[in-house]
């Protein structure tokens, strides 16, 4: 088994109006996602949603600037750390992961040799 980070990139405008119905829908989608991942024999090790990029502050060296590290149309909005048998299973998880206003990036976690 290997670990992968599923990074959820979405257009924040999609969630901007704070519509409770939309919120409810998203919560249910993520709940269902968690069940599906377990059902396929993989594991969610962790994960979180992030506050929008308007709340971000960047630090480069000693310089503190407001805003995210890079301005992009689709911003990092959340992540899951998962354990999967291989990239194919990780990609299958990525396909299931809810991201209605964008998509996800699947990155293998670097493993360091022991000793």
């Amino acid at each position: 088994m290997s670990e992968y980070l599923i990074l959820i990139y979405e257009n924040e405008a999609g969630y901007a109006d704070q519509d409770p119905a939309l919120w409810q829908q998203a919560m249910e989608a993520h709940g269902k996602f968690a069940e599906q991942v377990t059902a396929m024999g993989a594991k969610i090790l962790g994960g979180n949603a992030l506050q929008p990029t308007a709340t971000a502050t960047s630090v480069r060296g000693d310089v503190v600037t407001d805003g995210p590290f890079a301005e992009t149309k689709e911003a990092l909005g959340g992540y899951y750390l998962v354990e999967a048998s291989d990239l194919d299973q990780a990609l299958a998880i990525g396909k299931l992961c809810p991201a209605p206003f964008g998509g996800v990036e699947v990155r293998p976690i670097m493993e360091f040799p022991e000793g």
Partner: protein, 411 residues
């Protein structure tokens, strides 16, 4: 003592035919592709000497596989930790144990599917397939795709690193993913073929080597997956297209269009083989490669350009556009429209494609339009379109052809 010439020929032949097979079988023991490649390289090196001394073995592939696997096992024994660090592909076999036929089949397929995994960029898929399945050197691949050797080496290294870091699995995909994954494999093989068939840049219209490799791969896939219609379709398409190889280039190296080709110079044996595959295909429901093969088949059996069954070609293009809504297909279809409904109808289709915009900068759009305008005697517009096509072309033979046409209009 065996004849040195015969031995080096046998090694070269084994390299061409068996590299992918030997590598795939060795990768199973070695546990990672880099070690496997090194051991296979060593085995080919050892073959030259051993076969000179003992004669060429009856099954060179089996000899090479045994030798490469033994080296891999030795290396693993020397460096026990390697297997823990690189668990990819590990499935150790005992020494001297040879895989049974089904496993060999599987190994080679796994290798192909790994090289063409969708997590790798298309250009990396192509490079890895040539390197790992066909055994081409990085320098050879770089030459074929007109990039520098360091660039190609970096591309191959990056791809291999991704396979191991991201744990791209070494296996044939399951039934659910197979159609998409197989399509990627076939696309890579077809890309090799078309790159060889029409070299995009430079003086050589044909790069026989790539064409031969693509045909070899097509045959291997057909052997490994005999029931997949698209595998059959791709092989048929390549055979029927390549059958015209000798007639495509004039004595002065110039391009000869299908319309003007000397059909007696087509390769009858390749056509027969392709036609058998096509007729098998048409009994089922052919996919995009199968339909393209069927179109090539109609041309292959036609006595002349004029006496081609154009309504059938048009029908097949319509079916192809449904399966594969691609603007290049739509452009090729306009030739059938021309032959069935005349140049005005064909021009209307071309102008529609022009408005669509997806083909802007595509050299064959301008040259097709030029040809239709020429047929409609709209000479000034035709000349302008030829000039536009000339700006986009980068193959010497095609450039000469367009200049010739333009000169004819301006005379």
């Amino acid at each position: 003592m065996t004849d040195p010439r015969a031995v080096s020929d046998a090694v070269a032949e084994a390299h061409r035919r068996e590299w992918g097979f030997v590598l795939a079988a060795t990768a199973r023991v070695a546990g990672n592709i880099d070690l496997a490649e090194e051991c296979v390289q060593d085995a080919y090196g050892a073959a030259l000497e051993a076969w000179l001394r003992d004669g060429v073995p009856r099954s060179p592939g089996a000899w090479l596989t045994t030798t490469a696997r033994r080296r891999a096992l030795d290396a693993l024994r020397r460096e026990q930790t390697l297997r823990r660090k690189l668990p990819l592909l590990v499935e150790p076999l005992g020494e001297g144990e040879m895989p049974v036929a089904d496993e060999i089949t599987d190994d080679r397929l796994r290798l192909v599917f790994t090289c063409c995994h969708p997590a790798l960029a298309r250009e990396a898929q192509v490079a890895l397939t040539l390197r790992l399945v066909c055994g081409l050197t990085t320098a050879e691949i770089a030459r074929a795709f007109l990039v520098s050797e360091p660039t190609m080496a970096a591309r191959v290294t990056r791809a291999k690193k991704k396979i191991s870091a991201a744990r791209i699995p070494y296996r044939v995909p399951g039934a659910a993913d197979l159609p998409d994954r197989l399509d990627a494999v076939l696309t890579v093989v077809h890309l090799l073929f078309t790159t060889g068939h029409t070299a995009p840049v430079g003086a050589d219209l044909l790069r026989h080597d790539l064409v031969e490799r693509a045909l070899d791969l097509g045959r291997v896939l057909r052997h490994l997956m005999p029931d997949e219609p698209e595998v059959r379709g791709l092989l048929a398409l390549m055979l029927l297209t390549d059958a015209r190889r000798d007639a495509r280039v004039g004595p002065d190296g110039s391009l000869v269009l299908l319309e003007h080709q000397d059909r007696s110079r087509w390769d009858g044996a390749a056509i027969d083989e392709g036609i058998v595959l096509v007729s098998e295909l048409l009994r089922g429901s052919p996919g995009r490669f199968g339909l393209q093969a069927a179109i090539a088949g109609v041309h292959a059996v036609a006595p002349s350009w004029e006496d081609t069954d154009w309504p059938r070609v048009l029908l097949l293009y319509d079916a192809l556009l449904v399966r594969w809504p691609n603007p290049v297909v739509a452009l090729n279809r306009t030739v059938a429209v021309l032959m069935v409904h005349g140049p005005a109808a064909a021009l209307a289709e071309v102008e529609r494609l022009e408005a669509d915009g997806r083909l802007s900068g595509y050299r064959y759009l301008a040259s097709t339009k030029a040809d239709l305008l020429r047929r409609l005697s709209r000479d000034d517009e035709a000349a302008a379109a030829y000039r536009q096509a000339l700006e986009l072309v980068d193959n010497d033979a095609e450039r000469a052809f367009l200049q010739d046409r333009l000169a004819g209009l301006e005379a």
